[in-house]
């Protein structure tokens, strides 16, 4: 699933389809890893891990060339769904932007309160 903003637009798709932020080959890798995780029962490092300071937030790590993508999401709104909340990067061992986990947590609360704020993730 993807988070939807208050206007109903999909910031996750917007990010994925912006080749300046996600080059075509990086997108192929992100797509493939998301699909791989969808078929995996146990999400473990190095592809996925919980954020200790942000309960419920899970990060998916995708490295392409010198860029480390840290895609934040959570398990929900339904218990068998995973919703991508915020696509962040890593710079010097820190989130870029720094407030990415906080944004993800806020978005998680929004989706939990209103399931219509998430839609099916598309790979196109």
């Amino acid at each position: 699933m993807d988070y939807l903003d208050e206007r109903g637009t999909n910031p996750i798709q917007d990010w994925l389809s912006d080749v300046r932020q996600v080059p075509v080959k990086a997108k192929a890798k992100i797509d493939r890893i998301l699909l791989q995780l969808a078929g995996t029962r146990l999400w473990v490092r190095p592809l996925a891990s919980n954020l200790d300071d942000y309960p419920g937030i899970v990060e998916i790590r995708v490295r392409w060339m010198n860029t480390q993508y840290r895609i934040l999401g959570f398990r929900g709104p339904d218990e068998r769904q995973f919703t991508i909340l915020f696509p962040a990067l890593e710079q010097g061992d820190e989130f870029q932007p720094l407030g990415a986990p906080g944004i993800a947590r806020t978005r998680m609360q929004i989706v939990e309160a209103d399931w219509s704020r998430a839609c099916e993730h598309r790979y196109g």
């Binding site: 192929a28 493939r32 699909l35 969808a38 029962r41 146990l42 995708v62 490295r63 995973f82 196109g124």
Partner: protein, 230 residues
């Protein structure tokens, strides 16, 4: 890390999306690359966990350091496994390794059908009883079919040739003679258990089908030595 069972991907829409992306050759090339490496890294992990081995334990079997196993299982690692390494891993798991070029249909299928349980592979020793059972069943079926036809091997060979000929529809009144190249004498008589000389392609079709069902043999190769219109 807690277990997260997410709902299965809608493989039809995912495949459609990937296909649309694949119209871009750069994406296509990258998907092939990721399919190989993400796929194989994930499968190494699945096979190791299937055998309930830690990375260190599997490393000892494969004569590799634990750190190297960790890298082999990480699709984000910069070092990608070579074919030689994969063969070594296959040997340590005692499984086969299949490297081949495939159509994009296969690439798309493997990209969206990622259920980790489908990646499990038994070791040779675990697979052996099933392999033997399967081959025994195939051999038994084959023997049964041969005996059901009541034909000798030469007759079956002749019948194969008959079934293969003619390739195109003929007139009902046509008569054909066929020769099976492996026989010294052309087989042209109708004294065999199955008719060799046909006058009716529809009849031939029925007989052929019947023979196929009973013998389970694939038919091919014939040569026309005489063709005559009745």
């Amino acid at each position: 890390m807690k277990q997260i069972g997410v709902e299965p991907v809608n493989t039809v829409t995912a495949k459609r999306d990937l296909l649309d992306n694949c119209r871009n050759s750069e994406y296509r090339e990258a998907l092939v690359f990721e399919n190989v490496y993400t796929g194989v890294c994930s499968q190494i992990r699945v096979l190791r966990e299937q055998r309930e081995l830690s990375q260190a334990e599997f490393g000892r079997k494969a004569k590799m350091a634990q750190e190297r196993i960790s890298i082999l299982e990480d699709p984000n690692a910069e070092t990608k496994p070579t074919l030689k390494t994969l063969l070594r891993v296959a040997s340590a798991f005692d499984v086969g390794l299949d490297v081949r070029f495939v159509p994009f249909e296969t690439v798309l299928d493997r990209s969206v059908n990622t259920d980790s349980s489908a990646l499990q592979v038994p070791s040779f020793d675990d697979e052996l009883p099933e392999l033997e059972k399967h081959l025994d069943a195939v051999e038994a079926r084959s023997r049964e079919r041969l005996s059901l036809t009541g034909l000798g091997m030469e007759q079956i060979e002749a019948a194969k040739a008959i079934q293969a000929y003619p390739a195109e529809p003929r007139r009902l009144s046509d008569t054909y003679k066929v020769e099976i190249s492996k026989f010294s004498e052309p087989v042209t008589t109708s004294s065999w258990p199955l008719q060799i000389v046909y006058r009716n392609p529809n009849l031939e079709w029925r007989v052929s089908k019947s023979l196929e069902a009973r013998s389970g043999v694939e038919y091919r190769t014939t040569q026309i030595v005489e063709e005559r219109t009745a």
